[in-house]
Symmetry: C2
Subunit: 323 residues, 2 copies
């Protein structure tokens, strides 16, 4: 399963998005531009702008350039949050590259993140569409709120599953939702289309993050581009851990192993193994699959364009990239 | 010299801005809301929203609420940059209060800054005015660029005066310029009015930052709300230092004292004394006065409303608050 078909459909637009992001960095203040360019180049799969460009096919805006600006704005916002998250999580590797945090001071990393926030604001302003801009600003607030929730619920072993869902909504699904909804708003699509695309983005984003959280346990460091179990090391309780600790005996065992130890303690590697070998992984994967099914059902409300097939392709990729 | 007269003219509007900012914090995620509220309450003199509200009197927008949103957006953006600057500068005191940085982890401080960035974006989106939003986004980019320049020119003893001016434009004058220009854009004012207000804000902002940089040498820690000479401690060369090192002998002397020593070394206190007792302070103050004169001249293009007298009052306050 790959994203080849979907990517091919919007290849020219994706290239335009890339060029727009590149141009922003070229204009940055000299000494930082190399580092910013590295961040752009190590830019992952561009899933979010791809979703924006595909969603934009259903009700194209009058000025196609604004869709490109929107897609670049969404990816810039994603980059900004990744950079700041690296400081917040203390992560040293991301996408297989050293994070800025590992080679830079915290203050440079903050500035690099702020740079992409500022670019995102500039790019979304280019849409000149007040409602799109409002949706964008609302999403930014949800994302920041999600960061806060995650920081303040670390090592809270009795948090409900809803708490996890609320956090991954802020961390991931809110931006996916924006990526698929905002193009509809930009194209002044009927409310039913916008809602179908929003709901698709939401369900897909939830599935995407659950799969990410599973991969954090089951993938090897090379595939993952960062150390396995990094969330648990930081005290963040994701869905596999949630399911694992629903058995009181297991809960007592891992609390006993982890509590009182500093983040990054090697004992966490043992706990990661226990979770990896348990049925909690499959339980979490069932939930991811259920979200993808809902995402696919959302697409029924949209006309059978090639873009719809491509969105189906993206949705399947999201759950199947695990194994 | 105080801001009493100007403040009285827009007292109701300032209260509305305060309420809007307060409300944003009340809705924040629980554990952080107290800290965010402290940041709001220790909010300084509200010079920027005051300027926005006064500038808004010349060509009032049809919907007055949007002017309130704009003023709150500008102050929120200011708060965001203060919070991140505290991490970047490593400052422990700001406005006489411990900074978040002194009591919090860097990651919490990043999140608090991001929170105010997000609020600022949400508030400016409420203006629903694409050009105002574009001006806001452009300013954010200039501010971040200024942060970068400052970080990368530390301890560069041969930087030209233009480098200093460019940095304080990003650090302060760009936001002052936005504060006085954006209300004109919001009220769809004629280009000449908008330009007069923009230029006024620019000149005032330049003067404001020069005076701030003088105060960093001449004021005591209590008045200042932070340690004296904090910029020089961080290797930042401000206008008083620039003038001081124009004499080659002095330049050699202070480079000899500071170079190779870590930031925060007690030797800086001696250098601060040398600059404080030199003619460099008065030279810098002459430049601040010249900027204020230009700001006052800009106001000639505007009608003689009470708001214009209030802006004159603010401009005089800016240079006279020094002594």
């Amino acid at each position: 399963m790959s994203l080849k078909i979907s990517r091919a459909l919007v290849a020219d637009d994706l290239a335009a998005v890339e060029k727009k992001m590149q141009k922003a960095v070229d204009n940055a203040y000299g000494p930082l531009s190399d580092a910013l360019e590295l961040l752009i180049r190590s830019g992952g799969k561009r899933v979010r702008p791809m979703l924006t460009l595909l969603a934009g096919r259903f009700h194209p805006p009058r000025d196609h350039k604004r869709l490109i600006s929107l897609a670049a704005a969404i990816e810039s916002l994603h980059t900004a949050t990744l950079v700041h998250d690296d400081v917040i999580d203390g992560a040293l590797l991301r996408r297989g590259q050293s994070t800025l945090n590992a080679v830079w001071t915290p203050s440079s990393t903050i500035m690099a993140g702020d740079f992409f926030f500022a670019r995102a604001a500039g790019l979304v302003a280019e849409t000149k569409h007040p409602r799109v801009i409002s949706l964008f600003a609302d999403t930014l607030q949800v994302i920041v709120d999600g960061e806060l929730r995650q920081a303040f619920t670390a090592r809270d072993w009795s948090q409900p599953k809803e708490g996890y869902y609320q956090r991954i909504y802020g961390k991931t699904a809110a931006l996916f939702e924006l990526a698929t909804r905002a193009p509809a708003a930009l194209g002044d699509a009927p409310a039913t289309s916008e809602e179908a695309l929003r709901s698709f983005g939401y369900h897909l984003g939830m599935a995407f993050q659950i799969v990410d959280d599973i991969l954090d346990f089951v993938a090897d460091e090379k595939t993952l581009g960062k150390p396995a179990g990094s969330d648990l090391r930081a005290g963040i309780i994701t869905l596999p851990v949630y399911f694992f600790i629903q058995q009181p005996q297991r809960r007592q065992q891992i609390i006993g192993m982890i509590e009182g130890r500093p983040t990054g303690d090697p004992i966490v590697a043992e706990v990661v193994q226990m979770v990896r070998n348990s049925d909690a992984i499959e339980q979490a994967h069932d939930e991811a699959r259920a979200f993808v099914e809902q995402a696919l059902a959302d697409l029924d409300a949209l006309p059978a364009l090639p873009a719809r097939d491509a969105l189906i392709d993206v949705a399947r990729y999201v759950v199947e990239r695990t194994y």
